[in-house]
């Protein structure tokens, strides 16, 4: 019986592998891996004139290609890939360190020509860059940057590596400062903080921003001081987000604001539920980063005061950098790398959201023609394009 069952399972496994390996039409398949599930998307017939683009495969190592932000990133990357006739492959690593490093090895072994990566901590980049150097694969970071002071070894390695192309990232410190300023201007003075995972690179930068925002406010308003509490961590799931928020409120019943630093949306939903269940929506204002799908409704009912986000186009620019590096169009600066600063959008009212929805939710901020044209930009033009992205910018390009 055991042998029969084992044989059946081998058959299922073999059929699954055969199904993954064949197929000329665009298809989505899922194969299991040691580190994570992965998806391979075959592009449609190339719209680009260059026949070589049919062979380009770009891998994406991302925390999740299915959560609110991750699925938007996949949406825009896939649109660019389709416009340029490039194939993509995704590995979800859940921001678990060993899975992040394993994901790069998986993508390298799968024959990727380039990799886009959103790592968890900068320490992983040593292994990532070494792997890419070994396999001669170009790699770019999105939503992340290697800090020269905090991670000097990784920074030096990135500079010297011929295959580390660069990074596209937001100014997380400025993001934190802006969110705190929004809260202080709304009258909040005792602000609690709920992170998702201790030690996460992005959280640490945002936390620095929140702290600097408080310091700046207090310096400008010596008679009207604000305080920021120590962070507590709610994980990624909504139930742990809620229990942590309830614990924070229970321990500090006089807070008038809660920053939910991020974490994919589940933690934020749980925290909002905690506040709503205790009837404290009017007392505690909530801000966060990474737009929820029902942000419009939450802005209207007051469960969210403001959010920063809309930065899902960040990986598009990492994609373009990597694509051009593969094509030989971008020559990496000597002992340095490319760096693109990407702006957050801030939404603090239903009117703000309506404009955002029109140009970033109902459609992508770049259409196919613009994506094809972007592939021919110089790096300077690409960086300028990224920096100028805003609701007004899309409105000007697409009308309305």
């Amino acid at each position: 019986m055991k042998r029969i069952l084992a044989m059946l399972m081998v058959l299922v496994l073999a059929l699954g592998l055969v199904a993954c390996g064949t197929g000329e039409a665009p298809s989505e398949e899922t194969a299991s891996s040691e580190a994570a599930a992965s998806e391979e998307t075959a592009s449609a017939e190339a719209s680009a004139a260059d026949g070589e683009t049919d062979d380009i495969l770009i891998g994406v190592s991302i925390w999740s290609s299915t959560d609110a932000l991750g699925s938007q990133c996949k949406w825009i990357i896939d649109a660019a890939a389709e416009a340029l006739g490039v194939k993509t492959m995704y590995v979800d690593q859940g921001h678990v360190s060993e899975q992040v490093t394993a994901s790069v090895e998986t993508l390298a072994a799968a024959g990727c020509d380039g990799i886009l990566i959103c790592n968890s901590s900068s320490a992983e980049m040593t292994s990532v860059i070494n792997t890419c150097d070994q396999y001669e694969i170009y790699v770019s970071q999105f939503f992340r940057a290697i800090d020269e002071e905090a991670n000097p070894d990784e920074y030096a390695l990135a500079c010297s590596s011929p295959y580390y192309v660069g990074t596209v990232h937001e100014d997380e410190v400025a993001n934190g400062q802006n969110l705190v300023r929004i809260l202080c201007e709304k009258g909040c003075r005792k602000i609690a903080l709920e992170g998702w995972s201790a030690g996460d690179a992005t959280f640490l930068l945002r936390w620095q921003g929140y702290q600097e925002g408080i310091e700046a406010w207090n310096a400008e308003n010596p008679d009207d001081q604000a305080t920021l509490l120590e962070p507590q961590y709610g994980g990624h799931a909504s139930d742990t987000g809620r229990s942590t928020a309830e614990a924070i409120i229970s321990a500090n019943p006089d807070i008038d604001a809660l920053i939910v630093a991020g974490g994919g949306g589940g933690c934020l939903i749980g925290a909002i539920t905690a506040i709503e269940s205790q009837g404290l929506t009017d007392q505690i204002k909530v801000v966060s980063t990474d737009f929820l799908e029902d942000l419009e409704e939450r802005l209207q009912n007051g469960s969210i005061a403001a959010e920063s986000g809309g930065h899902y186009a960040d990986p598009l620019f990492a994609f373009m950098m990597t694509y051009n590096a593969i094509k030989g169009n971008y020559e990496k600066p000597e002992n340095s790398f490319y760096e693109v600063n990407f702006p957050y959008l801030y939404v603090a009212s239903p009117e703000d959201y309506a404009a955002y929805k029109k140009y970033f939710v109902d459609e992508l901020p770049y259409n196919t023609d613009e994506l094809v044209a972007m592939a021919d930009y110089t790096f300077e033009e690409l960086a300028e394009c990224a920096a100028s992205l805003s609701i007004e910018d899309v409105q000007a390009r697409h009308g309305g």
Binding site: A6, A198, D239, R242, D294
Partner: protein
């Protein structure tokens, strides 16, 4: 009469002996409460706050009760978290068509089917339960991702009765009652203990070991299906998680299960689980109340668990500790 003799007399006392274990747990809970109450009297431990500590702890208690059925037999299951995710998502999707019936039946049926699958494969493949359930965890995570279609599944506001009192307490009490009934008054409970005590002897006595191991898995995942109802009602949404990320749901119920194992000799494992999870919630909230960093919280929680279990488990002389 020295202290040890006095304690032994208490344990064997006809009137009081059966409550010795429960009394010990209540004293422990009181000690932890008192420590944090002294450290931070203003923002910890008042009656209204105790409700919040309780409502998060009973969710994990339900899962821990289910876990107990297989852990007592010497088995393990890594797919609990994946079950919670998948069952929650199935329940939420069905609730859109069928309301509460969809939520309840969806979660419990999905959980039961998972238990049946886990138990059947474990019995038929004859490989360690840890290995089987790790493989199945990856499969269930992928299935959940497929079912959710990449979207966060949110439970309608009108269907969140099990996210607060009295709905969550009633459902949890029903689960505790059923688990306790099965353990104390049915053949299943007796045979689970017998198999855990000595599987070869149990088999030689005519107990169908494989059958009761299968039943153990079914009961575990049925109760985890109930836990999924509580989790998704409490958090109001569930997102599919891949890459073994669902394992984060495993550990809190596991810690409660350890309390049940430590106190089973006092014939009150279910109550031990409930109070044990409550103690964990007290510690968690206590540390937040005093503003301690999360790293310290986890160190102290782990240490407290080790101390409690070490003090209450007394293996027989010469017994091999695995």
């Amino acid at each position: 009469m020295n202290l040890s003799d006095r304690l032994q007399k208490l344990k064997t006392n006809k009137a009081f002996g059966r409550y010795y274990g429960i009394a010990l747990l209540i004293i422990m809970a009181f000690v932890f409460w008192a420590i944090f109450k002294i450290l931070t009297p203003d923002n910890f431990g008042s009656m209204d706050k105790m409700y919040f500590y309780l409502q998060s702890s009973i969710i994990y208690s339900v899962g821990a009760c289910g876990f107990y059925f297989i852990v007592v037999m010497g088995l393990f299951d890594f797919s609990i978290g994946a079950n919670i995710v998948l069952s929650s998502i199935v329940g939420v999707i069905l609730s859109r068509q069928f309301g509460y019936a969809g939520l309840l039946i969806g979660c419990i049926a999905c959980g039961t089917i998972i238990g049946l699958l886990n138990g059947t494969l474990y019995v038929k493949l004859k490989i360690p339960s840890m290995i089987v359930t790790v493989g199945l965890m990856l499969i269930y995570e992928s299935v959940a991702s497929f079912v959710a279609q990449g979207k966060e599944q949110s439970l309608d506001k009108a269907l969140q009765a099990f996210g607060h009192a009295p709905g969550n307490i009633i459902l949890a009490l029903i689960a505790f009652f059923v688990a306790s009934l099965i353990l104390k008054y049915t053949k299943i409970g007796t045979y689970c203990y017998a198999i855990g005590s000595n599987e070869y002897v149990a088999k030689n006595m005519g107990i169908n070991v494989n059958k009761y191991k299968l039943i153990g898995f079914v009961l575990l995942h049925l109760l985890v299906g109930v836990m999924a109802i509580l989790v998704v009602s409490y958090g109001t949404s569930m997102r599919a998680i891949t890459g073994m990320g669902s394992m984060e749901f495993n550990f809190t119920p596991l810690m409660g299960c350890f309390f049940g194992l430590a106190f089973r000799k006092y014939n009150s494992p279910i109550i031990a689980i409930v109070i044990g999870e409550f103690i964990i919630a007290l510690i968690f909230n206590g540390f937040i109340a005093i503003g301690a960093p999360t790293t310290i919280q986890n160190v102290i929680t782990g240490a407290a668990l080790l101390i409690v279990v070490a003090l209450t488990i007394k293996p027989a002389k010469g017994a091999v500790i695995k």
